[in-house]
Symmetry: C2
């Protein structure tokens, strides 16, 4: 049932169209994966997500292994059945939250592996795995590569991911190299554990490491290429800023096996997605669209954003604005509600504001990626980018 | 466009079936009216409400006159357009919140006019109207009968209500009588203001007063019957407890013109609704179903409630319960989600819990009233009550 076919390769860049088949359906790539962290999209049902054209969502192993726990989840028939989502799904390894959460800023959480320090809840990393304190009750837990796979088996997502050490950004090359080899050994153990399970139910992604160092990126790509992973994720530090991120993504992608689907972890800005697509990235994920919605932000195309990728409906300028967020958007919110009403809901502290903006931002991302797919086929990616980013 | 037809009168009680026609559609009565206090159902869109079979909703004049204000609302095309609800709608007069809110307990807010003291925000009541401090910014406002009608004209709900003094419960007969006559004078002023406006766009409900005193109830009913109100609401104190409430509703209903639709303000318990229906009440409203949902409560028929009208999904007993809330319920939540998952969402503090339980409770109330309508026609109201209440 699992298959990744490249249906079109752009002649002018590494951008491509693909069909990622899973037992729960096909994902047309490039695609955006929405974060249902604790087995729930914050503020939208599975039915809402479908209606707003969502292809695939992900859930976080870290949160779910602690609450409600993998045993309960298996007993309840797995994540799909538990949360009522019958489409393709991915889980991460749980590592990201252990190694990188707790730094504080949203940007760090969004952008992923950039912190300069470790979270206080991380007690120890050694060859075996990582020991950490639960965010819920402070209890000590150990996550090993084997345990991560076992938990992800119990959760039952279609696509699952090896455990890696999320290397902090401000470490030297020697640490990055050591960390890379540790992650490689963990990847082999993850794969070995994975191969004990039944075939055809889930598929495993390896993660390419190597930080900001071209030679390490090459070594790591060669390593993951050599193992029978279904797909690859771009991991490790992506650098200090957007410019460096682009360089790192480029050097990470260059040596990766182009036949496998590639996921870029934790990236969801509109211009970043265009860059990633041009580098051959097939899937993206980020909490940004749904989190932004909960803070009053609505994603908009370039013509409406006045230089930004979103507008904030809390602003007084929208008080009497009878237009929908975006007249060209066909989400339920834009079809039925005005900016003025959304502004009122936010001012009045109404729950419905978060829900309505979540529906819009979800639809926006799905429409953005649909536009990108059409533009790849038509060879008009640059024009498409102007429409969305300016 | 406005019409109230009684399509069936039970031979064994005052229960009846009706069709309440408005420019935004027909309400089959008895019906439940959901509270969209600040022009939003907390946790559900207009589309959700329709899908879960809602006929009619209400919004609160008190909240909306303060935020976003009647001028903005009129400018935005009125409540229907503002909130994207194209069905029948009612607004109250704004009086209830001024006279009775701020007492503290949920029960008082739910049950209405029962407080023994006045809220601190109420500054003064005199012949002219009531002066109060805004719950938002403490600013002084005066609500008169004329102003209430003007605001409700601007909001544009189909059914609107006269301003009355919500008499506290623990006052003597002499205060109740004086208050009743004040409310009668306000009702006449409300009607006079209403009659200045265009015909056929909105219709006005009078409110019958008289507290717990049979002779005053008779006097007040005669008064409202004599004026050309479209419908009547049962107002004034309903007594100290459920037993007294039943007596008061009976004595209030007895002398009321049976040709007009009657609304019972602020009552939404399942057994109370059965009682009201038997007394000839046509519509009910209450924040209870949607508020209960936000606290983890799901309304259930008698067979599932173990003596209560709801179950609380927070309870540990639901942790591994794979059943839907109610296997006989066809709401989106019961069709797709288990008690176990809802329990998880509540434990994890996920927004989606409130949304999913709101959908269920809305559907429950609509299904309850549908069941009641069928039972009235079939002469099986007693059996129907056993099914829902036990």
């Amino acid at each position: 049932m699992f298959k990744f076919e490249i249906t079109f390769q752009s002649p002018s860049s590494k951008a491509r169209l693909g069909r990622l088949s899973t037992p729960h359906g096909v994902v047309e790539t490039p695609a955006f994966i929405f974060c249902a962290t604790k087995a729930a999209i914050k503020g939208a049902t599975a039915q809402d997500m479908r209606r707003e054209k969502t292809q695939i969502i992900l859930a976080n192993t870290y949160h779910l292994m602690l609450q409600p726990g993998p045993d309960l989840m298996a007993k309840m028939g797995g994540l799909h059945r538990f949360m009522g989502w019958d489409g393709p799904m991915l889980t991460d390894s749980g590592g990201f939250q252990i190694f990188s959460l707790g730094h504080g800023s949203v940007a760090e959480e969004v952008k992923g592996r950039r912190g300069s320090s470790r979270p206080k809840s991380l007690l120890n990393i050694n060859e075996e795995g990582a020991t950490f304190k639960s965010y819920l009750d402070g209890k000590k837990h150990t996550l090993t590569p084997e345990r991560s796979i076992q938990v992800q088996r119990a959760l039952g997502a279609d696509l699952i991911v090896v455990l890696d050490e999320c290397t902090p950004f401000h470490v030297d090359k020697s640490y990055t190299e050591k960390s890379m080899y540790l992650s490689h050994r963990w990847a082999q153990r993850s794969l070995a554990e994975f191969q004990k399970g039944p075939e055809g139910i889930q598929e495993l992604y390896g993660i390419t490491q190597g930080g900001v160092y071209p030679d390490l990126r090459k070594t790591s790509a060669d390593f993951v290429n050599s193992l029978p992973f279904f797909g690859h994720a771009v991991g490790g530090s992506l650098g200090a800023d957007k410019t460096q991120m682009k360089e790192v993504v480029e050097m990470a992608m260059e040596p990766l096996d182009p036949a496998r689907p590639v996921h870029l972890l934790g990236i969801g800005g509109v211009s970043d997605i265009f860059y990633g697509v041009e580098q051959g990235i097939d899937t993206f994920d980020c909490v940004h669209p749904t989190r932004l919605a909960r803070h009053g932000g609505a994603l908009v195309p370039a013509a409406l954003g006045e230089g930004r990728e979103h507008i904030n409906l809390r602003n007084a300028q929208f008080r009497e604005d009878q237009r929908p967020i975006d007249e060209t958007c066909e989400c339920q919110t834009c079809r039925t509600l005005s900016r003025s009403y959304l502004h009122h809901l936010l001012k009045a502290g109404e729950l419905l504001a978060m829900h309505a903006l979540t529906l819009h931002n979800v639809h926006f991302m799905n429409r953005l990626l649909e536009g990108i797919r059409h533009a790849i086929a038509a060879g008009t990616l640059e024009e498409e980018q102007k429409k969305w980013v300016g």
